[in-house]
């Protein structure tokens, strides 16, 4: 931590504790140790002291032990020529500061009972509200818990002009934050500025004028401390619980406006204990490494027009968008709606023009949340039936944002755009296709609205993994081309990345128990080389899903010790399976169809079955309605093996999995594949060819029979013999 800040904070703390001691002695002489002391109408005594130390200050005499605590917390002044780690002493100085200030304010209630109004709003010409009583705490605290108010800004001092004061207050109000105000800068306070500008202050408008002096910061900190005890069930004295509750749940920050004195530094150091960072308008030293606070501790010299945005970013406050702001209806009900040729107003992609979608990550300072830009013509610049090229680029920034999330976020564009009435979306990546209906265009829907949709929905559904998103939409040919090239480079990079991963080098697999609602004993465990059998979840998707929803159906599974490398069995996976299958299964193999194969819920894209006469396996996909050489159609097979049973000889898997290296590797791998439907073979032709070359049998695809050769083992065997299919000369599949 900055030495300048620490020495200032520690100096300030010494001064404040000395003041508190003097006040205490004075009060003691006047009233004696048995005098009642405290804030009005609260069961939390002096809340910071009570919450952090557990000491219930009821009588003036009780203050003595608190002051002792302050003295023991107070570190020595920082020496000019010794450099030490200062964070811990500064935090302790900050804590001593807040204790001392609470004593000072409590004595003020004794000395000047009418200094504060003790009400929700200013009354009888008195602007200063003082400590919130327990009724206000409950009523307002509920808003902190249910999220209608995410936190508060504790403002010390005042900005240079009334206009800026009003602007800041408005901006903070728009973010639903409470504004807790205290202290003056050059004799002016923010509260007075607002009143002079005709703005109503008080709890009702969330602009709370706590007090004119810097010691009134403790009303804000006391409120936060009581919230932890009242709503978090934290017991008095459990300082760790109180500080963590605030760090994790109350999105508060300190905003000193004006000259930062030693005393202000001391208060800021105190607030850091609660995880509340400081965002200042003046050029004070910054404390950027993270540690106590979620992100930075002290950020300074921020221009007024960026102050609120920066504060929100530093505190890690999430933006919420309640409604998608577009002129047509919006919801999942419209997802399946088609826009047919006769209804068509505008079309992008679909073979007529180029359309491309790309989600990417940018730096925090490169993204302005909610900024939507359109480059090129929009709906009203073109006539009915027009076709435009289109590039949608969503640029994300966030502390938790990872490159791995990009494809997952990008894939959502399909759903999100489809939810709009009169918009149809098909495909993804560089084969996206969007159609807008006449009716939607008539209601004023523009291409630019796609940006609004994406901004709102990304925040609603994926706010956990990013902080800011801006959307750029291009409809000019050359710009679209440019984006297309960039996006294609990224697609190649992504594909190579997941394809380069192996099960051996990956320690954590992911479970998927999404289907337990209807197949209660089924547990998928997804590894890089065994993608989900439904085809919808690969390892990367599961990882992201876990990050987005840590208590959801995709949980990390440490694969643990290897039990069988050939068949693919690991101890960690078995342990997880035993518990998650409700003790129905205690092990299965990832790479075998013969020996205890992995189960299927029933959602599998394909089902493989062994063909004993051919000494090989066949696989059939869901779209194949005809008979297969194993004597069962897909539906019969699904009915037989679905529901979470491990059935030797049968295996549910995804289409993509067929060409992954580990597919059936324990039984000989893809060399065993003797039959598959023709359309499936065509669908995966490129990758099948590649895989065949890799195992040294480049003409394997031609050796695999399909329904045109036959739909029984007897019919296909001569074909296999004629082609010299490798399965025929392999070890017997059944031993």
């Amino acid at each position: 931590m900055s030495k300048i800040i620490c020495s200032a904070a520690i100096r300030g703390a010494h001064k404040i504790v000395e003041t508190a001691e003097a006040k205490y002695q004075e009060a003691l002489e006047k009233w004696g140790p048995d005098q009642d002391i405290g804030f009005p109408n609260t069961a939390y005594y002096l809340p910071i002291i009570y919450g952090i130390s557990g000491i219930a200050v009821k009588k003036l005499g009780d203050v003595e032990q608190v002051l002792e605590r302050c003295r023991s917390l107070l570190p020595d002044m920082v020496s000019e020529d010794v450099w030490l780690p200062y964070l811990a002493p500064a935090l302790e100085a900050g804590m001593a500061t807040l204790f001392a200030e609470e004593i000072i304010e409590a004595i003020r209630y004794l000395e000047t009972p009418d200094f504060y109004t003790k009400t929700e709003d200013p009354s009888n010409g008195n602007l200063w509200l003082g400590a919130a009583d327990d009724v206000i705490l409950r009523k307002r605290g509920v808003e902190f818990v249910d999220g209608t108010a995410p936190g508060f800004a504790a403002i010390l001092g005042a900005p240079p002009t009334e206009e800026i004061a009003v602007q800041l207050a408005r901006e903070l109000q728009e973010k639903n934050l409470y504004v807790f105000m205290c202290a003056d800068h050059e004799g002016r306070t923010m509260s007075e500025m607002l009143v002079e500008a005709g703005i109503q202050v008080g709890w009702g408008t969330r602009l709370v004028s706590f007090g004119p002096e810097y010691t009134a910061t403790i009303f804000a900190m006391g409120f936060a401390t009581r919230a932890a005890m009242s709503f978090g069930g934290v017991k008095p004295g459990d300082f760790r619980g109180i500080l963590f509750y605030n760090k994790d749940r109350i999105f508060a920050f300190a905003m000193p406006l004006g000259t930062v004195t030693d005393e202000w530094y001391a208060n800021a150091a105190g607030a850091i204990n609660w995880g509340f960072p400081t965002i200042a308008d003046t050029p004070i030293p910054e404390v950027l490494p993270t540690g106590i606070c979620t992100y930075e501790h002290v950020v300074s010299n921020v221009p007024y027009d960026e102050l609120v945005a920066r504060a929100i970013e530093v505190r890690g406050l999430k933006v919420t968008v309640a409604k998608v702001p577009i002129p047509v209806s919006y919801g999942p009900a419209f997802e399946g709606e088609r826009v047919r040729k006769d209804d068509l107003y505008l079309e992008c992609g679909g073979g007529k023009t180029q359309a491309v979608e790309w989600a990417t990550t940018r730096g925090m300072d490169e993204v302005e949340d909610g900024k939507i830009e359109l480059f090129g013509p929009d709906v009203d610049d073109v006539g009915e039936g027009a076709k435009l090229p289109l590039a949608i680029v969503a640029e994300f920034a966030g502390r938790k944002m990872q490159e791995d999330f990009e494809p997952i976020l990008e894939r959502q564009i399909h759903h999100f755009v489809n939810y709009a009435q009169g918009l149809m979306h098909i495909g993804q990546r560089d084969i996206a296709w969007i159609r807008m209906a006449k009716a939607a265009a008539g209601k004023g829907l523009k291409l630019k609205h796609i940006g609004d949709i994406l901004h709102a929905k990304f925040h609603q559904d994926f706010g956990a993994i990013f902080d800011k998103v801006q959307v750029k939409i291009y409809t000019e040919e050359d710009k679209v081309r440019e984006m297309l090239e960039k996006a294609r480079g990224v697609y190649r990079h992504r594909d190579a990345r997941i394809e380069g991963m192996t099960d051996e080098t990956t320690e954590t697999f992911y479970s998927c128990t999404l289907c337990q609602s209807f197949a209660p004993n089924h547990v998928c465990i997804i590894s890089p080389e065994r993608t989900g059998l439904c085809g919808a979840y690969n390892w990367m998707d599961c990882k992201a899903s876990y990050e987005i929803n840590p208590t959801g159906p995709n949980q990390p599974v440490e694969k643990g010790d290897t039990i069988d490398p050939k068949l693919g069995q690991w101890k960690g996976c078995n342990d997880f399976l035993y518990k998650a299958s409700r003790q129905a299964l205690d092990h299965y193999n990832f790479y075998s169809i013969v020996h205890d194969p992995m189960t299927t819920c029933g959602c599998c894209e394909c089902i493989a079955a062994i063909l004993p006469i051919c000494n090989g396996v066949m696989t059939v996909d869901r779209d194949c309605r005809g008979m297969t050489p194993c004597g069962m159609k897909f539906t019969t097979l699904a009915g037989t093996i679905g529901g979470g049973a491990s059935v030797p000889g049968f295996l549910g898997h995804s289409k993509y999995n067929i060409t992954q290296k580990k597919w059936l590797l324990g039984d000989g791998g893809i060399k065993r594949l003797v039959w598959m439907p023709k359309h499936l073979k065509e669908e995966i032709a490129d990758r099948l060819k590649k895989q065949a070359e890799e195992i040294g049998i480049p003409d394997l695809p031609d050796m695999i029979a399909d329904e045109t050769i036959g739909t029984s083992e007897e019919e296909i065997l001569p074909f296999l013999e004629e082609k010299g299919h490798p399965a025929l000369s392999m070890d017997p599949l059944l031993e």
Partner: protein
């Protein structure tokens, strides 16, 4: 070799939830085995029966259901007292049916008044259940939470759309939550997770899995509750280890078979017994599926179930 009955190895337990006011504390939950599988584990507290009281005189009940309460229908407080004193109700469930915007749409203030009166009239724990209209329930139950601070009411239904507002209110004013989801294990779990994330302590959560009447989809509810208990007891699914409350009476007594007269349906038997038996049968099945609290209506059905529970526990 002697035959040994295979036993399920349980690794979870249902959480114990304290209900009601401090002075008359009642605890539900604590099971370490499937319902009444006393040969495999413990069921330290037999399931409890809460009897229904309505905030306004009902206008669609068959005679059989009205009869026992004819003298108290106008006065929810007296009704509640009668259930406790005459029929031995272990809890009371105040149904705020009249707040429903589709019926009488009585204001939240009125619901608060009724709740206060009923709460003052009884010592046993009080369940306060809204009309299952999300917006209105949020408004009504929030106000009740605030006005009846410290009563430790059981407030429901708390749904995904209202859990933040009602969860926060129950934290601030110390009530217990009836977390309600539409017949789905995953949704039930999700809501419990959300409540936990909000900071609602475990001992303030009951689960309402949503139930139907016998003959009207009860099988499905049964399976979901069964799954709920399997996950809780054998799968260490910590977010499902909560006692289950079944709001069944209003479902049973609204079906055609409990209302239709003997003239219209002579084959269905004596209408004065028919509804009672339908209610008792429904309750019995829900008990076997894992209910900890049954919200019931007719004293005769209550008595049948109580006898049944005693027998199962005794053996």
């Amino acid at each position: 070799m002697a035959f040994e009955i295979p036993k399920i190895s349980y690794n979870g337990a249902i959480k114990e939830i304290p209900l009601g006011k401090e002075a008359s504390r009642m605890i539900v939950g604590g099971e370490t085995c499937y319902p009444f599988y006393l040969f495999e584990g413990d069921m330290p507290r037999p399931p409890k029966i809460a009897m229904e009281v309505y905030d306004a005189p009902p206008d669609d009940w068959p005679q059989a259901a009205l009869e026992p309460f004819a003298d108290v229908l106008q006065d929810p407080a007296a009704w509640a007292q009668k259930c406790v004193a005459s029929y031995g109700a272990e809890m009371i469930a105040l149904q705020l049916a009249s707040t429903d915007p589709n019926t009488q749409d009585t204001p939240a203030e009125q619901a608060v008044e009724v709740t206060k009166k009923v709460a003052a009239a009884i010592e046993v724990p009080l369940i306060v259940w809204g009309s299952a209209n999300l917006e209105k329930d949020t408004q009504v139950l929030k106000m009740i939470a605030e006005e009846c601070a410290g009563e430790n009411l059981i407030l429901g239904p708390v749904e995904e759309g209202s859990y933040k507002a009602l969860g926060a209110a129950s934290l601030a004013y110390q009530h217990t939550i009836g977390a309600s989801t539409p017949i789905d294990v995953n949704l039930a779990k999700q809501l419990n997770i959300l409540l936990g994330n909000l900071g609602v302590p475990d001992e303030r959560i009951l689960v309402d899995p949503t139930v139907g009447s016998l003959g009207y989809g009860l099988e499905y509810c049964y399976s979901v509750m069964e799954r709920d208990r399997m996950a809780a007891l054998t799968q260490e699914d910590e977010r499902l280890q909560f006692p289950i409350v079944c709001n069944l009476a209003k479902e049973v007594w609204k079906i055609k078979e409990s209302k239709i007269s003997e003239e219209e349906a002579p084959l269905l038997g004596d209408p004065s017994k028919r509804g009672v038996l339908l209610e008792a049968m429904t309750a019995l099945l829900l008990l076997l599926a894992g209910a900890d609290i049954l919200i019931m209506r007719h004293p005769d059905a209550v008595q049948l179930i109580r006898g049944f529970v005693n027998e199962l526990i005794a053996n």
